[in-house]
């Protein structure tokens, strides 16, 4: 569960990136967050990852108040959240298997668990054959699937996807979206920040539209409001 209460975030220069945003996302929901660049979507993701602190307001994730969280607790908190980026952010000097195993090494999972779970994730995203390939040998869609496998391997309760299809062609975009939907059906809360009008309109999910740091609409089975 994600709850934002009157959250604002200002940087030292310019208008606030978020301005009094209140929001409630239930466990197991699938939510699109749309809006022009500069609308505050990325700031929202960063606040949820506790990369940034809000200037005002409170953020509650899985019943934990982020504002009061101590530095030492941040790693444990982040382990409940999977994250996928537009630019994939894979480790270029490691192969597919190692990239996914990395996420488990980092949180000190036993080697036995790693050897069991990584192949499982790979077959889930359809890359079982390519476990030895390096990121540069993969297409954009394949790289994003590796990133998704890495985000999911630790079984997070929330998945944040920041423009996951931004660098992909329509076919690959749809494949990623279908994977996200599958993940959601298994119970993970999924938050997708996107510009992809076609997908948003077709998937009939909850759509939160942001503009200049405020939520301008929040609809169940919503559509893409803005012109790009």
């Amino acid at each position: 569960m994600i709850v934002l209460e009157n959250v604002s975030k200002s940087y030292s220069t310019g208008a606030p990136a978020l301005n009094g945003v209140s929001l409630h996302i239930n466990e197991g929901e699938f939510v699109f967050i749309v809006g022009n660049s500069g609308s505050g979507k990325s700031t929202l993701i960063k606040l949820l990852l506790k990369e940034l602190e809000p200037t005002e307001g409170q953020i509650l994730v899985n019943n934990k108040l982020l504002n009061k969280m101590k530095r030492k607790q941040i790693p444990k908190y982040r382990r409940q959240i999977g994250v996928v980026f537009q630019d994939f952010r894979l480790l270029k000097d490691r192969n597919v298997y190692e990239n996914i195993a990395f996420a488990q090494r980092v949180i000190e999972k036993p080697s036995k668990t790693i050897r069991r779970q990584v192949p499982m994730m790979l077959s889930m995203v359809g890359l079982a054959e390519k476990y030895k390939s390096f990121p540069r040998e993969l297409s954009g869609g394949e790289q994003q699937r590796v990133a998704l496998a890495r985000a999911l391997v630790n079984n997070p309760s929330i998945l944040l996807a920041d423009e996951p299809t931004g660098n992909l062609d329509p076919k690959n975009s749809w494949e990623i979206m279908k994977l996200l939907e599958e993940v959601n059906e298994k119970g993970t809360t999924v938050l997708v920040v996107t510009h992809n009008r076609e997908i948003v309109n077709a998937m009939k999910k909850r759509v939160i539209t942001m503009n200049r740091g405020v939520i301008v609409s929040d609809e169940e089975e919503g559509g893409y409001l803005y012109e790009d």
């Binding site: 990369e51 990395f102 000190e108 036993p110």
Partner: protein, 302 residues
């Protein structure tokens, strides 16, 4: 902590070193040079210290007594002097012995010339204590103390010898401390640079690790391992070199300058290395740790 985490951290540390080979090699080389020079100075100082100590042991104070002091009183004075901490040993020279020594030194072959004094010891009042010190620099305070004792007529000392020896000892100590301090600073600086570059190269990876939920320790440990390994290798290499060098140089000196061996004894290599090995390794590891730890604190805001 899991064993797999430990091996992972060690592997990553090694990988860091391999990834920026040139800087790692430069750091190891500087560290090796530092430890080499440190070891060199250490061996020289230790040997020199040994020589000075044995020279110091020969520097003493001579104490003469008031006329007509009885044996008992002299013994009593001796036992009070012996109680002083700075006194290493006390030798009593009776008037007869003093005369005997004098005769041997001055009349040598013409022993019969001294016969004239046979029944009348010219050094009748020269019974004395030779007082030897643990630490030559304490000589002045001892002399002041001795002069205050009742029954002591005169105290002879060799101030020049004492001052020269303790001064020389200190000078060597200061110079070596200064050189070692400079070298250590250079080592810390180079290791810090190596780690800084390692952090810069892995910025993306560190960011990903943090987002996935790695603890601070997990992110930092490989860099510490990198610094410590550089320190360890950098201090182990020169120790091997020093070991062979020391034996050869001592052998060479003893061979070529055999007249030295009479009054100079070198400390055996094993005795020196019993201290030098743990000291150098600790120094190397310590510098590696400090260099990498301080850099991480500065450049790695996790």
């Amino acid at each position: 902590m899991r064993i797999s985490t430990i091996t992972y951290t060690l592997r990553q540390g090694l990988k860091n070193i391999r990834r920026n080979k040139m800087f790692s090699l430069a750091s190891i080389a500087t560290m090796a040079a530092c430890i080499f020079i440190f070891g060199l100075f250490f061996s020289v100082i230790l040997n020199f210290h040994g020589i000075v100590k044995s020279a110091e042991a020969g520097v003493g104070v001579t104490v003469f007594f008031d006329e007509g002091l009885s044996e008992e009183q002299i013994k009593e004075i001796g036992s009070t002097i012996e109680k002083r901490a700075e006194v290493s040993r006390l030798v009593y020279v009776s008037a007869e012995e003093a005369w005997q020594n004098f005769k041997e030194e001055y009349f040598k072959d013409a022993g019969d010339l001294a016969e004239g004094f046979a029944e009348d010891n010219p050094l009748a009042n020269s019974a004395n204590y030779e007082v030897y010190l643990n630490d030559v620099s304490m000589q002045q305070s001892l002399v002041t103390y001795l002069q205050s004792i009742e029954g002591i007529r005169q105290v002879n000392k060799s101030e020049v010898a004492a001052n020269t020896l303790s001064g020389f000892n200190m000078l060597i100590g200061y110079i070596s401390a200064a050189i070692i301090a400079i070298l250590l600073a250079v080592s810390v600086f180079l290791i810090s640079n190596t780690v800084t570059i390692g952090i810069a190269v892995r910025k993306e990876e560190i960011k990903i690790m943090k987002l996935i939920g790695a603890t601070d320790f997990f992110v930092k440990a490989p860099f510490i391992v990198e610094g410590v390994l550089i320190g360890l290798v950098g201090s182990a290499l020169p120790l091997v070199a020093l070991y062979y060098l020391y034996n050869n140089v001592i052998g060479f000196i003893v061979d070529r300058f055999d007249m030295l061996t009479g009054f100079v004894t070198f400390i055996p290599v094993n005795q020196i290395f019993a201290i030098l090995i743990p000291l150098s390794l600790a120094l190397g590891v310590g510098i590696g740790f400090i260099g990498s730890f301080s850099t991480i604190r500065k450049h790695l805001k996790v």
